[in-house]
């Protein structure tokens, strides 16, 4: 079966979810609605994890589903893995 590489849930998002594991330096095809574009992966990223579609400043918002899902605790470069090592929840502390 054909597997597309990554899906961006909304045009406002700055991350996409990988539908297959991606090796460093690969051009990742990102699909959003009927449009697609490519981003070069700067590192290996596992299936189901997120890739940055643009640079996100330290303290900047990480956006998926057109909503803020967290804050960058480091500068996140385009094409790198977005996960718990560089992103934190805004609300988990208030639980």
């Amino acid at each position: 079966m054909n597997i597309q590489q990554a899906i961006m849930m909304d045009e406002k998002d700055n991350v996409a979810t990988l539908l297959t594991a991606i090796e460093k330096c690969h051009q990742v095809q990102i699909k959003v609605g009927e449009r697609s574009f490519t981003v070069q992966a700067k590192e290996t990223i596992p299936y189901g994890h997120k890739i940055a579609l643009k640079d996100i400043e330290k303290g900047g918002k990480v956006i998926k589903y057109s909503e803020v899902i967290g804050r960058a605790i480091d500068h996140i470069k385009e094409g790198t893995h977005v996960h718990v090592h560089n992103t934190e929840s805004l609300s988990a502390k208030n639980l």
């Binding site: 079966m1 597309q4 899902i69 996960h83």
Partner: protein, 386 residues
Amino acid sequence: MKISGYLRPDGSIGFRNHIAILPSVGCANDVVVRLGRMYPDVRLLSHRQGCSQVGPDNDQTVRTLVGLGKNPNIAGVLVIGLGCETISAEYLAEEISKTKKMVDYLVFNDEEGLMAALPKGAKMLDRMLHETSKMKRVPCDLEQLTVGLKCGLSDTTSGIASNPATGIAADRVVESGGTVIFGETPELIGAESIMAKRAASREVEEKLYRVVNECKERVKTSGGDIQEANVAPGNIEGGITTIEEKSLGSIKKGGGTTLQGVLDYGEIPREKGLFFMDSPGRTPEALTGFNAAGAQILIFPTGGGSPAGSLISPVIKVTANSQTAQRLKGHIDIDVSTVISGDELLVKAGDRIFQKLLEVANGEQTKAETLLYGSISIWNISPLCG
């Protein structure tokens, strides 16, 4: 596509035409089961509540039992009590009768034992089944439809395909004047502000925060760790980074319309549109709550798969995991793994779910319905007393 259903005396529409036996208390379950052996087409709503409950817990059980009887998919109800329980059969029958549907009740302790109770119950069922057989479908509007949504055994594919595709179908129902109910209060912990932004009024917003806070308090009171509601190690391994991301993936199944209200468990909405129901994550309890609120059809997006069903409402199961779709062919109604493979746009997958919803409303059986998979389980919120 036009839809049709069974017009009830109170103006509501049933998309199924069931006769049900509802025990007012768990002790009466055996009478229900025996009658069920004689009448295999009758829905047996056995449960284990109805006695020794106090305060809000008792209110919740009463509300749920009355709501189950009132569900428009049920044409007639036989309520069976023992005679000594907190919630009497007579009271339930009276409340359900407000819909003017067929209702009868039988109290075990008024009879000379089981063997005397059975023929009496049988006679009541005979009459209701005969009346039901004469009922015919009439054309109706989507405004008459209430859909309940629950996800289960979610995986990476849920948040990006099966839940958002279900959300597109949910939006179509609301835009057509219908009602959609989703729930799972624990899923909102940490993401309540995201949902609150969509509240229709200040009251709705306040109630949303209140039910989430009560949920947190229950975890704390029972000695649990609220952080467990946070992202679990398995979620992190799967690629979920924050609790906001996890919750968003789940609440996407409710679509993007305005939140009209927050319902208590089993509460019937008084208006149309999108509602959140205060409810637990456990599937049979959540589905029972939607049944009691009047949902005639349920949609269940899943990642790893589930046999989930309901005795009152057809359950449409949706997955975007191609392996689950293959492995559980006998349980899954709609395969939207095409969104993952890039062969179908999300909006088209959502449209397929909506079309299936209409077919099911018109009588097409879902997999769980054919398998008669389902049970009643009422959410119990406080320790039993007495």
